[in-house]
Symmetry: C4
């Protein structure tokens, strides 16, 4: 089997004669050995040994093709939708926000009372002109624009003498404004009577519903999507590809059943082997040897298939029943496709020279995890320390997860200079601390931890190469 | 003990039989050996050997939990405060600075006399409108806004014919302006008589005091903080968590005492051992062997505990007695938390496979420091050279500490291209020098120094692995 | 020959006596051996052995010089042209686009109907003033400015109630506007009758033709280029260097013939050798040994020469016959020059200590490719997964090739922090997924894959060094 | 001597008994051996052997201190001057350039005839108001502002029909404008009669002279600098530190003489040794052994001293005789200080464990240079290819030295993503080529070349460590 081969290709190695059994084995033992040997063969060897067609292998290859196709078509249609949404968002900002400008720093704030009123009236008075947008019409009548303010139920604050009296319950008050026909040349805001109590005010929101048709799809000879923009911009609807999704589910289901059967057969054989071993040698089989009967690649395929089935089912649901749980669907499909592609490494492992590399990586993992624990503790210590000391003075150390990301970026050589510079011109003690902190952290992680990682993996590779007697040069 | 184990796990190694003593040892020697052995056991082994409960270990684990909790709660409350302060700073800039715009280049300067007057009158005439801010009131009356100018006592400068006559003593002149009630619709600046003598002028400052209440905390059901914004924005006050801080101090104090006792016992044993060794073998114990009785981890815990106690005491002081030494407090608490987390590595060292990694890092440190000295000299030479030659032409080489940071960033792969580009279009000789300088520096440090670091650590790891007879694969 | 030497310098190595034949070889064998030996000599050795002048070597060195000269002169003239084009583009934007500003975000959009008309009339009314530009004149008369709109043949869209009725055929409608003499002080737009049907509109284009003369070349005593700017800015014309290009073609053609002859002779010798081997030893020559007769460097020279000839021919075509296939020409010339320079490594390989490095790189390639396959599969999996899940929320994951480039940049330490930050403030599940995704991907690739690459190449270098008995220190 | 010790510390190594001579050496030999031994001792050993005080060593240490002090004081005064110049430049831009704004993209261009006249009149009408600036006065009268235009002597260009007739001689025409007293409230531009011939125009320049006094130095109790801003902003003058510079020159001169003497003595000893060797053994001394008599560190000190003396002399010249060759001076002083600091490594080399690291670096250099040659050829090939193909489409590939810098940055992990992105939305063939180009270049250099560097240096380090029998762990 592929799996056993990967771990102990003893037959190729003259220095490790452990597997060669004494000649006095009875026929039962010989039979069991043959069964074991067949179990641990890879598909090609099975075909050569007993002529069994590698159906499972073919199914997997087919699966890779169709799952990738499904993902790509899903991704492309999403790409078009997202672009349409972003362009519209940009248009809405320019249409409804007074004096809005495209800037790198995307801050848009109002600082005085009169400005607040000015901006609200501006929104109300806009009429849509360019593009295929229109206010929603329900039964021939435009849906109104809604203007709401949230405020504390009761509140009197006088910061001047440090006192306040607030009822923390939040009230909400809304008024509706009906849009005019585009042709009418007058402004709505004149007729509105609306005042804000700034002392108690928490937030002001304006809700309106627009509709648009994505005509770009007409050129691609697809059915155009209709979008209803409300506060949460709604998702589009595609009415095709349902059949293909069902086919994907079918293929994955078949693969799932076949792999589960193999795992089941493996565990059965393991029980027989344990019993057999106990009978003949009077010893129990060690745990590590038992685990060799469970093929890790099958587990990977089972997980991947389960995710694909769940994801495809959800995708059908989204396209037919107006579910909008897009995120879960994409996470399921994305993860499964990733696993499917990682699984292809298994087939590369059938070649000896590829196998050594995969084994080296696998053998290095326990050491890498152990070392990551040690390094992780120092990392965590630095995170806490940086957060509490530099947080108030440095944008990148403001929250704990920002610190984690910032330090991770730093040890990989990103944004060092700007991180150093942003601490400039603060009080001297904090400035000095930040220098000690950054230089010590970076020297430690870039030079010592990274080098030890390289030492660990180089060592593991050498060990694996020697123990498998393989000449790679 | 943990410490001896870490350095000489000879018992596991058949190739190093040095520690096995000859059988003819007398009973006294045997007794002393047993004492020594017990001393160098780790907590788990001590529990197994004599049933001693690992109280100290438990205390340390408890300490990690409560110190981390203390730090996180401190950090979160600071986060909220800093955000509030920054938002207010932004609001104040928009309110009080004429024609202020959010920009990436945060420069705000005035270039003509009329502009200077214009900007000063603008500040005076602003009335606060949005947000929970108010001018400070003392005994029912608003505190005045103060407008001050600093100038040389006497001065006549005529750059036109290269002469000046200046009395370098600096005088200060202030006038007070009382704010109007928000309802009054007139401007203050009309009534002010204020003129600047630009020839002698050094600086103009306007001082005003505002108060605000952070209502965001009301929603989190905490007591809101009151802030008094003067020139240095004041710190907020929290009146809870005092009890918890006291508990932290108590735990750290207990830990501090226990560890000091252990260190004391270690040094006592070391004196006995030295005397004993001298008596029986007639030789003095080498210094390196004596140092093994001092457990480095205990020293780390003692330092960390001292810092925590000082930090927590200061924190209580800040919260009760209006101390505002926030920076010292956060540096103390942050450093101690970092050390506590780094200390957890000790417990990982109880497992053999983790231990090897920690030992490799520790063994590599002397070589790394030695090599850093050599590399540091070359680095220093480049710093001086870059500062003096490129300083006048390149923003990043302007000051010596900027050069240090810039070169450190460069060797870790940050901002190379932009550093190269900023030297463009200067006179040819300097341009050529900058190229030689940067290419030589980068090639030397990225390719040679970094590689030698890797060589050093790989070599140390191999040495440690061989000498401890541990198979990591 | 250079080639054989590179692979088996057995004569220098006392430990590998395979090549020393038994003394009983007949004269035929001895003769054939001498022929083989001569074939595998490098040019210097051939000169020393039989006095053959290294004409081919000299030709190659000449070729490197003239090809590099050709490329540099081609590049410099292109540089001047591109700068002129870019400066003019900038001028045109400022002249013809209303309220155009130099910005980092190069977006220029119009959001309302009145703005659309305003911008169109602005273009029409501009008269050229500064710089050496003029409207094209054909037979004494200015060519007109053309204003075209594209729209669906029939279309009624009402997004308000989700319906549309569109004939997807696209119609185009143009009007011509003749420019006025620069002296006339009136605006053209007043006389134009032009209206857009926004419901059906797809695009509006304005075409005009300008001419300019690049006077900068006058100062360099070159013939100035004339440019005709139409929608696609036309390429300039140089009328010299034709002779030099022909010379390059000639040199490359000679080199091409000589190298083809050598390859032919090599394959002939290989056939003789195979026959000879079969006759004397009764064995067939293995495939790998046969391949040693084909000198890889000659193949490289042949490919490079072919590309140079094609590129130079195309370049002559561009300069004489108004072909504008600039891209193909530059790709051909660029690639060939690159290959020529890479080919110089062959001559360095004549020195033994250089050779070892080249051999180490060559020996590492198969392993590197094998390992890249494995790593590539995991990489591909991550690409698909990132595209589908993060695509809608992150600019850098929008299209599949952007994902590839982004992940490639990340593992080389570029833009980590900003990639992390751009995922902020999205819904929690996607945020969490993005963190898991990025941390796992980066840890895997930066620490494990890169380290294994280093292990592979270090190992190959050691192997090569040992097997060639060369002391490098 | 230090030098011999560094190369062959054979005495510490039991495995290399080559240096132990046969016992039958005559007294002459023994004497010569003692002389040689003394020559190759380091200062400390010389002191221990014959009690010679290490005067030279002390002089070097003194030199390091004073040169560093000289450099730091020079650098600090330059820093202040540069800041003053930059702030004034900023002020001048805001004062004299119409509608100038602080921007990241520092482009300031004018596109129409009327704008050109507008901007020129704006400069003329400005009167200085804030800051210590004044127009230069010569003999009580303001120096005039000069307005010059350069144009071709004769020129008629009609791009419309591709013809031009130009006399390439350039004429220059200037007019003088006298500034008004600051009090007069009228504009100068009304009285000026000035017209530009745009067809023939090459450039327009306005020259004016301002003076300013840097009063910031008054506060530091230094003599203030006077600056004359003309087109090239003049350098300031300091009248102190002359004595110190002379002292530096003296110290360096002494050191220079002592080192030259040592080198001379070394070469004399080498001649004796060669003669002696020839007499007794009848063999000539190999070249490599001869070179050991020339101490590389002395050469470094001689070079550094020469540079310091030249630099200090120039610095005195700048401060006394109004030379403004600041760049040469700073390059001389900067380079010498760098060499002095690098020279400190020599003293670290007196300790054995430091020495090994220095030796490893030195031993690796030949291999690194050899390998850099090979890698450099591939690099050069890529540079040419990228320049010619991508130059017209990508800002970073525009000129050959930009390409070099861009590729160098890329292989060190800088700006990868943005380099990829800037090629977007060009014609497909070039886009595809750029991808192939970048991916192949980066994979080759980041993974293969860098790894081989690490392999080379790791290997050298191991070799050195083994051959010097030093245990570093």
């Amino acid at each position: 089997g592929a799996h056993g081969k990967e771990r102990s290709p003893n037959s190729h190695c003259t220095r490790c004669p452990i597997s060669s059994q004494s000649p006095g084995d009875s026929k039962v033992v010989e039979d069991f050995r043959r069964r074991l040997k067949y179990f641990f063969m890879n598909p090609c060897e099975k075909y050569r040994a007993r002529g069994r067609k590698p159906w499972k292998l073919m199914l997997q290859i087919l699966k890779i093709a169709i799952i990738t196709f499904q993902l790509v078509s899903f991704g492309l249609s999403n790409e078009m939708m997202v672009t349409f949404k972003e362009e519209n968002l940009m248009v809405f900002k320019h249409l409804f926000l007074k004096e809005y400008k495209d800037q790198r720093v995307d801050r848009y704030a109002v600082y005085t009372k009169t400005d607040v009123y000015g901006h609200i009236y501006y929104v109300i008075d806009r009429n849509l002109t360019v593009g295929n947008h229109a206010y929603e019409k329900i039964e021939g009548e435009y849906t109104p624009l809604t203007l709401c303010q949230e405020f504390f139920r009761k509140g009197s604050i006088s910061p001047g003498n440090d006192t306040f009296d607030i009822d923390p319950h939040v009230d909400k008050e809304c008024i509706s404004v009906y849009p005019l026909e585009p042709l009418e040349n007058k402004t709505l805001s004149r007729d509105i009577n609306f005042s804000l109590d700034f002392k108690r005010l928490l937030s002001v929101n304006i809700y309106l519903t627009l509709k648009a048709i994505n005509l770009q799809t007409v050129r691609h000879h697809e059915l155009p999507d209709c979008y209803a923009f409300s506060i949460i911009v709604g998702a589009g609807k595609n009415n095709h590809l349902l059949l293909f999704d069902s086919f994907v589910i079918l293929a994955c289901f078949t693969s799932l059943i076949l792999c589960t059967r193999s795992v089941y057969k493996g565990s059965q054989l393991q029980f027989h082997y344990t019993a057999f071993f106990h009978t003949y040698f009077g010893k129990t089989v060690p745990w590590s040897e038992r685990m060799e009967f469970v093929n890790g690649w099958y587990i990977l395929i089972i997980v991947s298939d389960t995710l694909t089935i769940a994801g495809s089912a959800l995708k059908i649901g989204i396209q037919t029943k107006d579910l909008t749980n897009y995120d879960v669907c994409s996470i399921l499909l994305g993860t499964s496709t990733m696993l499917v592609w990682v699984g292809v490494i298994r087939y590369l492992g059938f070649f000896k020279k590829y196998n050594i590399l995969i084994l080296a990586l696998r053998a290095a993992i326990p050491n890498v995890i152990r070392f990551s624990c040690c390094a992780g503790l120092i990392y965590l210590g630095y995170c806490f320390c940086g957060w509490i000391v530099l947080g108030p003075y440095h944008e990148k150390f403001r929250t704990l997860d920002k610190v984690t990301e910032c330090l991770f970026s730093l040890i990989n050589g990103d944004d060092l200079y700007s991180t150093f510079q942003k601490m400039r011109e603060k009080r001297y003690m904090v400035w000095l601390f930040s220098r000690l902190y950054l230089y010590s952290f970076l020297s430690l992680f870039i030079y010592m931890v990274l080098s030890l990682f390289i030492a660990l993996i180089t060592d593991t590779y050498e060990t694996i190469k020697v123990s498998f007697c393989i000449n790679m040069a």
